[in-house]
């Protein structure tokens, strides 16, 4: 019996100890009417070799083109050490570290992660992860509403990834939070400051600031944060963590004390693309907000003998203590991804991470230089970070499919989300895209357009 260690002798002896004569008898409290029918829809069991054969065939039916798609999931190099260590049984098969003394490994990793993340973002506190970027933003919106000095709506720029906006909507809808979308400047691709000015009279609880935004465009974060702070609104930054090694971190945005809450998608930090997950959402905030922060938090403390140790702390924020009054319903988070990201960040160091950002960015500029002679140019004038919306002369989905046939995933069809833009492909480069890949992109695009 797969995974069940009982021998017939074991079973017999155990039944005898219990005082029943069959396993069936142990289900005597289950009404007979409720017994399940045979599970005919479930196929018979396979052995490991059989499952291996099956899954390899399935994996073989997925294509692996050279990847120029981004839009929230980025094809950075994942050092081999990251997952060889993260999948060690002691990390992989442990539960949430409820028993601190038996979980110092995981707890110290999280403490180090909190330290690295706050350093990267220049924030004061961080949690041990939320589900992903979009759901983390939803949690930040709920947190901001709890923290807000005055009631009001939450502003979501349209330059924020549409899936983030949709998830925020789904996850906050039952709490009747008013979400107001703010348009983007058709020229620059940045938040439309005029649209924002039009909201001057509206009571605002919080403003979400993406950096870079879904177009890959750098937002005027200082102006946005100052605008919000003048209106007593909180600011929630939604950032790409790799970009943070290069760009001003949210803790320094604006002329005041910076963003209040920072969230983002942790995937770029050593997590494979994996068709969308598991990734992890991160969240950092100012110290003053920590008691409204959802998610697990690890603190450093001492043991009986004065030795340093780590433990979950501020648990009264959480559902298992506070139940209906918790800061969130989250329980299981994305711990193993945080372990991976911590190892990744340690491997890269600050300078290495900066180089990844620089190289990713420089490749985009090289790609744009290659494509200009083909007549394909960025749709927006704002500065870009490693991703750009390319205006196309033909339907973007057709172009993408054409390029795919040449083994190149040319990007994400942006006009599916923003029909007003006309045919647009959102193309992204990471440090993994070598010069020959860029050349291949050009050729594939040229042929797809021909």
């Amino acid at each position: 019996m797969p995974f069940i260690p009982h021998t017939e002798a074991d079973t017999a002896a155990m039944l005898a100890a219990i005082g029943v004569d069959s396993i069936e008898a142990l289900f005597d409290e289950v009404p007979a009417t409720l017994r399940a029918p045979p599970l005919d829809a479930v196929p018979p069991g396979l052995n490991e070799a059989g499952v291996t054969r099956l899954l390899r065939a399935r994996a073989g039916r997925n294509e692996l083109p050279v990847c120029f798609a981004g839009a929230g999931a980025y094809d950075h190099h994942v050092p081999a050490a990251v997952w060889q260590i993260a999948t060690r049984g002691e990390f992989y098969s442990a539960y949430t570290p409820y028993q601190a003394e038996a979980s110092q490994g995981t707890l110290q990793v999280i403490y180090e992660f909190q330290s690295m993340l706050t350093t990267l973002l220049d924030m004061e506190v961080a949690n041990a992860s939320l589900y992903d970027g979009a759901s983390a933003l939803a949690e930040a919106v709920l947190m901001a509403v709890r923290l807000a000095r005055r009631p009001g709506c939450v502003l979501l720029p349209r330059s924020l990834h549409p899936h983030y906006r949709q998830a925020v909507r789904t996850l906050t809808a039952p709490q009747q939070i008013e979400l107001v979308e703010v348009d983007y400047d058709r020229q620059t691709g940045q938040v439309d400051l005029a649209a924002l000015a039009a909201l001057d009279a509206t009571p605002i609880a919080a403003l979400v600031v993406p950096q870079p935004n879904v177009f890959g465009v750098i937002e005027p974060v200082d102006a946005l944060v100052d605008w919000a702070q003048e209106r007593q609104a909180l600011t929630i930054a939604a950032v790409n963590p790799i970009a943070m090694a290069l760009l001003q971190p949210p803790g320094r945005w604006g002329s005041g004390p910076g963003a209040d809450i920072v969230v983002g998608e942790g995937q770029p930090l050593g997590v494979p693309l994996a068709a969308g997950g598991p990734y992890f959402g991160f969240m950092a905030a100012r110290q003053a907000h920590v008691r409204q922060m959802p998610g697990r938090i690890v603190g450093r403390t001492r043991d009986l003998e004065g030795r340093v140790g780590y433990t979950l702390t501020l648990q009264p924020r959480e559902q298992h203590i506070r139940r209906g009054r918790a800061t969130s319903n989250i329980c299981t988070n994305q711990g193993l991804m945080v372990t991976a990201a911590t190892i990744y960040l340690a491997l890269m160091g600050g300078e290495g991470l900066r180089r990844v950002a620089v190289a990713s960015h420089a490749r985009l500029r090289e790609l744009l230089d290659l494509l200009a002679p083909e007549g394909v140019r960025p749709r927006f004038t704002g500065p870009h970070f490693h991703e750009a919306a390319l205006a196309l002369p033909q339907p973007a989905a057709m172009v993408r499919d054409g390029m795919l046939a040449a083994g190149v995933l040319g990007g994400v069809v942006l006009d599916a989300w923003y029909p007003e833009l006309g045919p647009t492909l959102l193309a992204c480069t990471t440090e993994q895209r070598e010069a020959e890949d860029l050349a291949r992109y050009r050729t594939a695009l040229r042929e797809a357009l021909a």
Binding site: E48, H161, H163, P278, V298, H320
Partner: protein
């Protein structure tokens, strides 16, 4: 001078030195002047003060840290409600195949038919096992599954114009995520007491039901480790009151392949694939909280989920499903976890599912019987254990002062992870013990011996018990100090802005 006890593991920051690097990880393309000229206005002035360490230091540090954990792969881990069973290593290997791990989530469906077929089959398989009409795999953990489920219930009532249903009933023994979810979904929570026999107090339930009732959230077996025998009556009562039944699938391991929530009358459920379907818990996550619904709730399922169309499998989005509660996350959920669950399900097969419940139940009842023999008190002495059971140390505590925490810490010294303690909240000094079906009898016997030894210690030398653990990397930790001092991050020295050149 004495031979030094091996010291604790320093923080990775403390191992660093300015300028040290794991250079093989830096990009191939060297940095060139002007590379970031177009970003000048937005650049940060400093290099973030992350650890500056070598690759060996990283590997050594995190390998050593890993050894400071208990885990299924190293220890018996009978953590009640968490189903810490063996996570097949094959699932880990196969989910990491490049054909899965390197797929971009927004690549066109035509280019990932192997994945989509697999997810589609998982949807179907889970629907069959739970007796539900349809499944969406997108929720990323149990609690998000609960959110999705309760949001669907809300959407259902709203779609019918039934807008006065503002209350959700939750038994007092429920997991904290249940009331927290209900509140996140905009509901008022009303607690339903548990009867002395561990079943829901039916009279109280009947009294609580009304036109304001949106739903009841239940798990069966309950968090008390017993099967709710009145479940059919409860379903009838709630449905008659116009409410729906939400099934918290965290305890499905107890009845997998033997009883289906759909047949019990539940309208919506989530599964904890990271429990019942044996995906690893990863020291906190990730999980996957697939939701299943009865036919009438199908239109509200969260997106995306996989549908079969003429051109092949594809993801259904908000356009396809106008009544959907919407999207819960950026992409399609914790795909890598879902693959592991699928692999596990295929390894078990139809005949393996019921065996999970059989042997999980056998193990729990064996432990319960033997622990009673050696002097422990079940919280519900007249009930059959399911896949887990609840002990209470309340009498011992009154007699000796020993607590559930003391037993938890004491077990660690025997190389056994502690059971869940102080949950459910209504039973004082309780231990919720879930051995799972993958543990062998010797291991269970070792646990019984350890418990017996701790019982003796509580009676003979309480101070020693209170000082446990003794054998772990740290002794008992001061949680009060942690909450008081709030030391939540290493504070690095100011960063050195100079960087080494490309040597």
């Amino acid at each position: 001078m004495s031979v030094a006890r091996q010291a604790g593991e320093p923080l990775i920051f403390e191992l660093g030195a300015p300028g040290r690097q794991a250079r093989s990880q830096w990009p191939q393309r060297p940095e060139r002047t002007g590379d970031t000229a177009d970003l000048a206005a937005a650049l940060r002035e400093d290099v973030p003060a992350l650890p500056a360490v070598s690759e060996l230091q990283v590997v050594r540090h995190y390998t050593r840290l890993s050894q400071r954990n208990f885990s299924i792969d190293t220890h018996f881990y009978p953590l009640g409600s968490c189903t810490m069973k063996y996570n097949p290593r094959a699932a880990n290997a196969l989910a990491q195949l490049p054909g899965f791990a390197e797929l971009h989530p927004l690549a066109p469906a035509s280019s990932m038919q192997g994945l989509l077929q697999t997810l589609f089959e998982l949807q179907e398989l889970l629907a069959a096992v739970t007796g539900m009409a349809a499944v969406s795999l997108t929720p990323m953990a149990g609690a998000q599954g609960e959110f999705a489920g309760m949001a669907m219930i809300r959407a259902y009532h709203q779609a019918r114009g039934d807008t006065e249903r503002v209350e959700v009933l939750v038994p007092d023994a429920a997991h904290g995520t249940n009331p927290a979810t209900a509140v996140m979904c905009g509901y008022r929570v009303r607690e339903i007491p548990t009867g002395a026999d561990g079943d829901v107090d039916l009279a109280a339930l009947a009294a609580a039901l009304g036109p304001q009732t949106a739903a009841i959230m239940l798990t069966n077996p309950s968090t008390l480790g017993v099967f709710e025998r009145q479940i059919e009556r409860i379903a009838r009562l709630v449905h008659e009151a116009g409410g729906l039944l939400y099934y918290d699938g965290a305890n499905l391991n107890a009845i997998l392949g033997k009883v289906r929530p759909g047949d019990m009358g539940f309208d919506v459920l989530h599964l904890n694939l990271h429990k019942t379907f044996s995906t690893p818990h990863g020291g906190g996550g990730p999980g996957a909280g697939a939701v299943g619904v009865a036919e009438r709730l199908r239109p509200f399922l969260p997106v995306p989920h996989v549908i079969e169309a003429a051109a092949g499998y594809r993801l259904a989005g908000e356009d396809d499903l106008p009544a959907s509660i919407g999207r819960l996350s950026t992409f399609m959920g914790n795909t890598g976890v879902l693959l592991r669950a699928y692999i596990y399900a295929r390894l078990l097969g139809r005949e393996g599912m019921g065996r999970v419940a059989d042997y999980a139940t056998l193990n729990a009842n064996y432990l319960l019987a033997r622990l009673q023999e050696v002097g422990f008190q079940p919280a519900l002495p007249r009930r059959r254990a399911t896949h887990e059971f609840l002990l209470t140390l309340s009498a011992l505590h009154k007699q000796t002062g020993a607590t559930a925490t003391d037993f938890a810490k004491g077990l660690l010294d025997f190389g056994i992870h502690a059971p869940t303690i102080y949950f459910p909240l209504l039973v004082p000094e309780c231990l919720l013990i879930e051995p799972t079906e993958t543990e062998d009898r010797q291991t269970l016997d070792g646990f019984i011996e350890a418990m017996q030894a701790l019982l003796a210690l509580a009676q003979s030398d309480l101070a020693r018990l209170q000082a446990a653990p003794e054998q772990l990397p740290v002794r008992r930790l001061d949680e009060v100090r942690a909450a008081r001092t709030l030391d939540l991050r290493h504070r690095p020295l100011p960063a050195d802005p100079t960087t080494e050149d490309d040597a």
